[in-house]
């Protein structure tokens, strides 16, 4: 798997970024990219920049490795049983999410001590790589939705073959393009605080559009078979 090294690179890159941010703030007492200190950060920034280049290169490598054997993609998906588990997570998470949207996101605070790579309290200090107390109701709803969505969207169908794999890929393309067209529209025509809502929903729309579109196309194909009873 060529994807694993790039994920590790990405993780290291993020850790280095926040470690340096923490170091500058706590040890030197400087704000990140403070105007006074813009020039002395370059020796620090350049290695990060190059390490990031490395991430992009390994992502490209992963893409081309997969691209060359794209017809094998359907073998890299999760087994079919995960689809049912995915629905069992996705549907409650969706209902929970809708309840949260209707009732407001801070109606049922569920405060827990969590590990934060980076976090800021409201009117409080910031944390990096420490445990902090935070309201995790929305985190829980979002995380469950994403996990469920991934399981539903990227598990094999019962009869997964090259045609269904092709439908899956084209649905994914369709979802990304549609999502960004809608996002562009909202970006241009929505201003002020409501734009935060656009960003909130946009976290999930690619997955939603993909799952809806893929299942619709599958349904249409099954219907085409049912209509053609006399072989």
């Amino acid at each position: 798997m060529a994807l694993i090294p790039s994920v590790i690179h990405l993780a290291i890159g993020i850790m280095v970024f926040f470690y340096i941010r923490y170091w500058k703030k706590q040890v030197l007492g400087l704000e990140w990219l403070d105007a006074r200190s813009q020039w002395d950060v370059y020796p620090i920034i350049l290695p990060i920049f190059f390490s990031k280049c490395k991430i992009y290169l390994s992502l490209c490598k992963a893409y081309f490795t997969f691209g060359k054997r794209s017809y094998m993609l359907y073998k890299a998906l999760l087994p079919h049983q995960f689809k049912r588990i995915g629905w069992c997570i996705l549907i409650p998470a969706t209902i929970f999410g809708i309840i949260l949207i209707v009732n407001g996101f801070d109606k049922w605070p569920f405060v827990l001590k969590v590990f934060a790579i980076y976090g800021e309290e409201i009117f409080g200090k910031s944390h990096s790589f420490t445990f902090m107390r935070a309201d995790i109701t929305n985190t829980l709803a979002g995380a469950l939705f994403i996990i469920g969505g991934l399981l539903v969207g990227f598990s094999k169908e019962k009869n997964e073959d090259e045609f269904i794999s092709n439908l899956r890929l084209s649905s994914l393309l369709w979802a990304v393009v549609t999502n960004y067209i809608v996002l562009l529209f909202c970006l241009v025509f929505v201003y002020g605080p409501p734009f935060l809502n656009v960003m909130l929903y946009n976290m999930f729309t690619i997955l939603i559009i993909f799952i809806v579109r893929f299942n619709y196309v599958l349904y249409r194909n099954l219907k085409a078979i049912a209509d053609e009873k006399h072989d």
């Binding site: 017809y71 009869n159 045609f163 085409a224 078979i225 072989d231």
Partner: protein, 66 residues
């Protein structure tokens, strides 16, 4: 690209389902190929030709627009 799978199937007396099982794909795939909605991979084309015992060119035919 057009194909003569439907005709060949009729000659051999195979249903879509039976052909699908012989080349180990879903019935949707055979249906989509017959309806010219999907161009099969080379592997699948060769498998189909093998089932009908004919060269690939007799089953899958290039069109002018290809």
């Amino acid at each position: 690209m057009k194909n003569t799978i439907k005709v060949e199937r009729a000659i051999k007396g195979l249903t879509q389902e039976q052909l699908a099982q012989k080349v180990s794909v879903s019935r949707q795939t055979i249906n989509a190929i017959e309806a010219n909605k999907y161009v099969p991979s080379t592997i699948l084309a060769l498998k189909v030709a093998k089932v009908f015992n004919k060269p690939v060119e007799e089953i899958f035919i290039l069109e002018r627009s290809d």
